[in-house]
Amino acid sequence: MLSVDPNTVPAGSDAVDATLAAAGDARAFERLYRSHVARIHSLARRMAGDDEAEELTQMTFVRAWQKLSTFRGEAKFGTWLHRVAINVILGRRSTMKTERSRREAGEDVIETLPARPAATEHRMDFDAAIGKLPSGARQIFVLHDVEGFKHEEIAKLLSINVGTSKAQLHRARMLLRGHLTG
């Protein structure tokens, strides 16, 4: 008997809450937080690791609050928030000025890691296995295979060339294939 389309009301709710929040309604912004925190936190955890995930999640929502006036409603709020999160996560690591060296070190690690992990690691949770990848390969794998970015976009975001992005992605996948049973 329900005539309300359940697929349209929630989308409208996000847009409404974003507008309310842009006008200063913290309760509306809390509703947005509740709706999207799992995705943003998971993105931060996969991109930067458990230690930084909570802080990056907080930073993302605070930044989103500050930038809400730039949300024009042309994309879904979740998509816009996701972009904010990517910028926060990558910006944070960039300001730490360790990203490039980590990525370079990551390549070294990849080269020295066995093509297939030991059997004892096979049962590791796949998500946890992503966290064990070298930083550069992990970010590229998450951005490409989990989040759906193109190599060209990744290259711009990470200030690397497209060939490096493709090579890192392949190596990340090769490392992860040993954890499929987890």
Binding site: H41, W65, G73
Partner: protein, 246 residues
């Protein structure tokens, strides 16, 4: 580019490195054919190809999980007030919709009173839509807005037209105030407000039809009431934002 003949030393390494590019559709047709020919004869590459496919598939099935602790209190503490629209300064006089006091200049006391009126209207809408009974409340006065959702169909019948003159009057006044103040809003902000008002109006219309068809459904009543409240809240915020821009 790839001049290593079939069977030559290094061919396995070359194609092994290109398995991801193959799966991502980045190889040209001729390269695809050569890689597939190699995989057909190379057990290691065949296994690797299958496992890479599974890795890619698994990447799409990861489950998002919230943080172990609620981060909202820490986030809320860092939210800066959003100008006068969010928190008018003490004693500051800002323009407001006429129905708040038949004046367009409102001080803090009047704004407080207006807020109280909005609460009463919101609660009244909830009380009316819920058919005059809410869980935990059996008094005649409108109760506080309900936050939970009930699924049991226990509510009594509601008026067929679901009308509430106070709500309708409040919305009309707010709409009038917004119409008069919309010129002060950024055109993009105004477009978002108008777009979302249309979304809410559609949702209200849908919910009204649903309640009319299933008047005993408590969840539908709650949904309708919440949607009607959202319209008031959006109109209120937009009007105050316009007023603050003046």
């Amino acid at each position: 580019m790839h001049t290593i003949p079939p069977g030559a030393a290094g061919e396995h390494e070359m194609w092994s490195e290109r398995l991801s590019a193959y799966l991502d559709g980045e190889l040209k047709n001729a390269e695809c054919e050569r890689l597939e020919a190699h995989v057909a004869e190379c057990a290691a590459c065949a296994v690797a190809l299958a496992e890479l496919r599974e890795v890619m598939a698994r990447a799409h099935t990861l489950v998002d999980t919230p943080p172990a602790t609620d981060l909202w209190p820490a986030i809320e503490a860092q939210l800066t007030p959003r100008g006068a629209a969010a928190q008018p300064e003490r004693g500051r006089v800002i323009a407001g919709p006429s129905w708040w006091g038949r004046r367009f200049e409102l001080g803090i006391p009047q704004l407080a009173a207006a807020a109280a009126v909005l609460v009463v209207i919101s609660a009244g809408v909830m009380w009316m839509v819920m058919g005059g009974t809410l869980r935990g409340s059996n008094v005649a006065a409108p109760p506080a807005p309900m936050r939970g959702i009930e699924t049991a169909s226990t509510g009594p019948a509601v008026p067929a037209d679901l009308s509430n003159p106070r709500y309708d009057a409040a919305v009309a006044e707010l709409e009038q105030a917004l119409a008069e103040g919309k010129g002060k809003l950024d055109p993009r902000t105004l477009a978002v407000v108008q777009h979302n008002l249309q979304i809410i109006d559609n949702a209200i219309a849908d919910a009204r039809r649903a309640v009319a068809a299933d008047p005993g459904n408590t969840w539908l009543r709650s949904h309708l009431a919440e949607t009607m409240k959202k319209k008031v809240e959006l109109l209120r915020s937009a009007t105050m934002l316009a007023s603050a821009q003046g």
